[in-house]
Amino acid sequence: MSEVTQTRLWLAQRISAMVLAVAVAIHLTGIIIAIQGGLSAAEIIGRVGGSFTLAAFYGVFVLACAVHAPIGLRTVLAEMTDLKPVSVNGIAGAFAAVILLMGMQAVLGFYGLGGG
């Protein structure tokens, strides 16, 4: 991997961190407000299901996670293990795919359930 690509990955992690900072704040505020009326699957689906705005918001959230976490994992593996760079990049890439797939599945699942 070229040094330019390495630097772009670092930059992507910094930018995704900025997105996550805002997204986590909105998410935490949202759940604190949401649990005021009790917490049940039906209530959550009633509020979240079918909402394009929330699906878009959580889509961005998942995307930022899928960018941010694997790049950090790549750094940790490179510093703390004897794995070769190709293995480190492979594991980080697979981790990104898992986060993206599981996250998007959850987001689309809730959107597909529709309101109430």
Partner: protein, 238 residues
């Protein structure tokens, strides 16, 4: 003050051991004085490095009671714990023998980070006129007093974890040159300090500035490089 100082000194190479010596305690005694006493009076086979003895040359750095320090300007009274000193070679560099480490990696990385000044003028040109208050000059001045002692390099955990990391001294030097209006290397130097082994590997733990005997802040220099590298990457200039 105790009359005798018990000094443990590392002997051998990487797989060596500590050897204990009793050294007379003196007023205003530096750690380098102690090591010199051991070599001159107790064991002439002890290997260590020093030159100027006044904190200019950067050759006498060692690990004193677990902390990297310049030994010529470190008074025993400041670091001895219960009349005991443990003196070891610098961390993160291969040990040649006793207190002497192989500094090649450290100096090679200074060169690798574009540490050499690249002049844009000839000898016959006029002097560059740079006001001392110029913001970029101030940034350069903040890091220019580095004596290349490798204390920061020994203090850096990232160097331990990732031996290919350029390290605080090399990056600090690069930052002084990035801010030197007379230097002609420009964005090429930023390319040299970008990437996984460059400034972006720094975790800002600040061990370098905590231990720098000249009270410099390589952490601030590396943060400056990160900003410049980020801008250059966004502009496609790396």
């Amino acid at each position: 003050m105790s009359e005798i100082l018990v000094v443990e000194i590392w002997r051998g190479a990487e797989d060596g051991h500590f050897q204990s010596f009793d050294v007379p305690r003196l007023e205003n005694q530096t750690v380098l004085d102690v090591v010199t006493y051991v070599q001159r009076k107790l064991d002439p086979g002890l290997s260590y490095r020093f030159s100027c003895r006044v904190g200019m040359c950067g050759s006498c750095a060692m690990t004193v009671n677990g902390t990297p320090r310049w030994t010529c300007r470190t008074h025993v009274s400041r670091v001895a714990e219960d009349g005991q000193l443990q003196i070891a070679p610098l961390r993160n560099l291969p040990v040649i023998k006793d207190l002497t480490v192989d500094m090649r990696n450290f100096f090679d990385k200074l060169a690798k980070a574009g540490g050499a000044f690249q002049s844009t003028k000839a000898r016959t040109d006029n002097f560059a006129q740079i006001p001392p208050a110029d913001p970029r000059r101030k940034q350069a001045d903040a890091g220019i007093e580095c004596i290349g002692c490798a204390v920061c390099y020994a203090a850096c955990d990232v160097v331990t974890w990732k031996p290919t990391y350029l390290g605080p001294a090399a990056l600090n030097r690069a930052w002084t040159l990035v801010n030197d209006a007379r230097d002609g290397m420009g964005d090429k130097r930023l390319s040299l300090v970008a990437g996984d082994d460059g400034c972006i590997a720094c975790h800002s733990q600040q061990g370098c500035q905590e231990h720098c005997p000249k009270n410099l802040s390589p952490t601030a220099a590396i943060a400056g490089l990160k900003r410049s590298v980020a801008v250059a990457a966004l502009k496609g200039k790396l």
